[in-house]
Subunit: 298 residues, 2 copies
């Protein structure tokens, strides 16, 4: 290899030794995590099978800005770590959980998204199975709480126009934890024509969710809905041993619609689950076979 020299006659080694970072304004970069879990809702009747609910973890802000509002767990990325390592670190600090499914979601960079200063958010989607959640509950992060998530599509309008179309989807996001109800309306606008695409999430009404986190949550649910259909991502919400009905319930709460049992079991049961000899017990009806996860290559 020849030693290339630049227009100032410097080799790369010399250039780097003399390099001083400029005085440009730089953003802070935070990671924010949408941590999903699927928990059993207690039905009063002991004979009925418990229903699953989709949960996400939020933390109550104890300082400005957005004091008192609920925010996604997260924190700033430190030098000498990747955003993924930062997410892992924050996860451990805030929930004392260590190894869970983690996937980068999107980097939100609207200049005004944090009123203090220029902060980008590299967001992550995390999934944790409900059996590990209980460990987390008694954590020292006093104001961390699992909220039940309901994302309803309230309106979809689709209009074709000159060389393209506009699609507007209105979401109503409802997060509940006991008496606490956080409610937000998010409008997802997609505008397409032959010169490009524009996709934006606008928060119309917001009640109690910090910063632009309602938008990040909607984005995360959309990603989860998409990926659940062609990957084994849902297995991360399920304990080591699970029934196929549990797995189906997870699919149903993610997709927000009921699925038919037989085809579900044929498709996902064969693809994602391996039968074991174990069975459920303590149910007021016929016991169910327990399955183990079967890993899909992709």
């Amino acid at each position: 290899m020849e030693e290339l020299r630049d227009k100032n006659g410097l080799t790369e080694k010399e250039y780097l030794a003399a390099y001083r970072p400029g005085d440009y304004v730089k953003p802070s970069v935070a990671v924010d995590m949408v941590i999903f879990s699927a928990a059993n809702k207690n039905t009063g009747n002991y004979r009925l099978l418990p229903q699953k609910e989709l949960k996400i973890l939020l933390i109550k802000r104890s300082g400005h800005p957005c004091l008192g509002a609920w925010a996604l767990p997260g924190g700033f990325v430190e030098p000498n770590e990747t955003t993924e390592q930062a997410a892992m670190r924050e996860l451990k600090e805030e929930t004392s959980v260590e190894n869970i499914y983690l996937e980068q979601l999107y980097t939100f960079s609207d200049p005004g998204r944090d009123p203090r200063t220029w902060v980008m958010s590299c967001s992550y989607l995390a999934l944790i199975d409900s059996s590990k959640v209980n460990v987390t509950a008694g954590d020292d992060a006093a104001s961390a709480s699992w909220f039940t998530l309901n994302l309803e599509t309230t309106d979809v309008s689709f209009s074709e126009h000159e060389n393209g179309f506009t699609r507007v989807t209105d979401y109503h996001l409802l997060l509940t934890d006991g008496d606490i109800r956080l409610s937000t309306t998010v409008r997802h606008t997609v505008d397409r024509n032959d010169t490009g695409t524009c996709s934006r999430y606008d928060i119309a009404e917001n009640n109690g969710i910090a910063f632009d986190h309602a938008r990040i949550i909607c984005y995360a649910v959309e990603r989860l809905r998409g990926k659940v259909q062609y990957t084994d991502i849902a297995l991360n919400l399920v304990p080591e041993y699970f029934t196929l009905t549990e797995l189906q319930q997870i699919y149903e709460i993610i997709l927000g619609k009921p699925l038919i049992k037989a085809p579900f079991r044929r498709k996902y049961g064969a693809l994602l689950a391996e039968p074991t000899d174990k069975q459920t017990s303590d149910a007021g009806h016929r016991p169910s076979r327990l399955f183990k996860r079967k890993w899909m290559s992709d």
Copy 2:
């Protein structure tokens, strides 16, 4: 609304007025773009239909680091703009193209990815149709060049182990432009077990591609391969009027495998294309009907 006060007795307004950004080390954030296009390869024979080739735009580095190597177009994000706006701005500056398909890809944040300092790269996938490319060619960015892309999967190994599996995919990325041949081997390792997932791209051999850009290119091709199958993203690589054979060729070069004509036309032809009265001419064989894009909602 009550005026909430924090533990120092400040309202949000007072807090923000007094806020001073701390002296933490912050990263620089750049955007890097993988700009794809599909161009005709000239076959010598006038009777034969031209074949399509997948191209990406690279820029030769004229300064350290990676002097002389070829890099993705991009630049630093400035205050008061989003990463997407930065990508649009750089796109216009470097290629004088204004409205094209743009989609955020991934934020790469390995601390050592830039030898100068801490630089994260928020990468974007861009698609441009070949009829607009010619406008770009005579640009003032003297050392910008369209490289023909060939990404070959040279080896896949899959091994199941205790509670999970490891999949290793070796890619050989070859970029050619006339006599210039840039060649890189990238290894994609996915390691899964019941406590999490680890996915990494390691550059094994690298000949002429700057920074970690080979990895970004591989990631972009994987995304393109995935999305082409369930979205109308491929329409962005095609001019206003196109033949179904052209569209099929685009699918074939993206997926890297031949497709059968009849089912392709039934599926994508009906879904993505609208027949017009126009026809091709100047071909040494039967003319072909020209189609217009039909927009899919999703």
